[in-house]
Symmetry: C2
């Protein structure tokens, strides 16, 4: 990174020496240097957000900074990993100082909330494209995988479903009383780090809901070679989402809308009393492949998929 770029980043990202003890050398050399505690694994994930694909040019830059980091931390939460470091690759069409300041405030604000250091990055000119790699630790062998769901496990979720989907619809013109909570979940999702840590040793399989419950649960089913039946009436829905379904008849929305960034996990029935506050059981893992939804006793096979680029 050239000096002018480094100055730019330094100014807006308030860079100083890393705070987390695992981060021994931060930005300013060819590489950052990290140390891990003994008997721990490093969990690594990366996600990109692109203008006009994941967000529009008029997005609030502070919310964008928050969301970019949140979607990456959410992947760590889904492994039961504890975040401590991120890198940020920023491709910017121009230097817009007020935009950068707000973007950095959203990004760094969330990073500080979770004691995560920005330990490296690259800044280039070009169409607005944002890539984060997030790193966390998990005790050896205790990560929550997609491949460990067992027949008979209960399927549970943190928080509510469909709020982000409703937020998107509100942004697109849907009128709704009290829209703030749905908009907040769409614009500024909260990664479920504490819940992911609490699920170590309790959950068998886990994933975060980025593409919708149905699509993400399907990853668990395929990698665990099992099937599932969801009980629609157990889905945790906000009053606004319930109203939306009542008005539109669109009962599939909380199953197919993405961006909630809640966790979906499977758990043996005996561990249900140990679940973190706010979790809800919404179905059961079955031997028969495929995903089914039980709507007041009417069981139907559910085929809908999440969003796919290039499809």
């Amino acid at each position: 990174m050239a000096l002018a770029e480094f100055d730019l980043i330094k100014r807006y990202f308030a860079l100083h020496k890393p705070q987390h003890p695992f981060n021994q050398l931060g930005i300013g050399d060819d590489c950052a240097l990290l140390s891990l505690p003994a008997n721990h694994q490093l969990a690594v994930t990366t996600d990109t957000m692109v203008e006009n694909v994941h967000f529009f040019a008029d997005v609030d830059p502070q919310q964008l900074g928050h969301k970019l980091l949140a979607v990456n931390l959410s992947d760590l939460a889904a492994m039961g990993a504890e975040p401590f470091a991120v890198t940020l690759a920023l491709t910017l069409p121009k230097v817009d100082e007020s935009w950068l300041q707000a973007f950095a405030a959203g990004f760094i604000g969330l990073a500080q909330q979770f004691h995560v250091d920005l330990i490296g990055g690259d800044t280039t000119s070009g169409p607005l494209t944002l890539t984060v790699q997030a790193m966390g630790t998990v005790p050896q062998g205790r990560a929550l995988l997609r491949s460990e769901a067992k027949v008979g496990d209960l399927i549970c979720v943190t928080g509510e479903l469909g709020n982000a989907g409703l937020g998107l619809k509100i942004n697109q013109g849907y009128a709704c009383n009290d829209p703030e909570s749905a908009l907040a979940r769409f614009n500024q999702p909260q990664p479920r780090i504490a819940e992911g840590l609490a699920l170590r040793g309790i959950a068998n399989a886990c994933i975060d809901i980025s593409d919708g419950l149905a699509a993400d649960l399907r990853h668990i089913l395929q990698q665990s070679q099992v099937g599932a039946c969801l009980d629609w009436q157990q889905l945790p829905l906000s009053a606004q989402v319930s109203d939306y379904i009542e008005q539109t008849g669109d009962w599939r929305m909380p199953l197919i809308a993405g961006d909630d960034y809640e966790l979906c996990f499977t758990v043996p029935a005996e561990f249900v009393p140990k679940l973190p506050v706010g979790c809800q059981c919404v179905g059961v893992i079955e031997a028969e492949p495929g995903l089914r939804v039980d709507r007041a006793g009417m069981i139907e096979v559910f085929e809908a998929k999440g969003f796919e680029h290039f499809s």
Copy 2:
């Protein structure tokens, strides 16, 4: 990542279980899981390449795949780190199968040469933007930093200087006998991993030459709070670069041209006999701040800087 995207990547990147023993879980879950050997640090770096900024649309995709990985591995080499894992964030305007196949061949070919696994990534649609994060190990406390140059150290480089700069000029129309080696250095740089490893315990400070010797050496000088004098006549130049200078009078080119991805390092004089084959001493670290160049006894202060985005 949605399934169709995963299939796409899988097909062209020939994904299988990671080969390196540090990589315990690769692509296919929310995160990859890595383990480090005891008493080692993780070195982490990230670099982005953007169409029309770092390369043009007609670039050979195999060479692009190689170069994208090479510039990241070069940062690990400059720390004396041994690479083992990379992630790849691909933003693609469309799925061009022959382009992807060639790009993946260049990327994976170089990765295999250095026993590096592709352990994660993200694929999105948008303007062509490529971000790699590379990870390597270094024994605790033995990384080669920019900040450790000492007055009296000799300044050395691996390989030759200015070949990539000449390659760029050839691409821009400069006529040259035997242009292949210069073009190869520009299009497919070789990260100096073996040299970086051999310099542990020998070099005091090290950086890779991405922005030109003068600009990159300046980072060492600033972070080590020292100055330097380069002996122009000691610069290792290919016959083609020497011819270019003779024809054009542009003696600064090997000092300011980027993209060579050689290492520049400083070393106490007593360790010079231990240097890896192909290294050349080109100057000395001095107490007086700033960078000077000695051209046959004429010493001049050298001000030129490397390429800066947004400047």
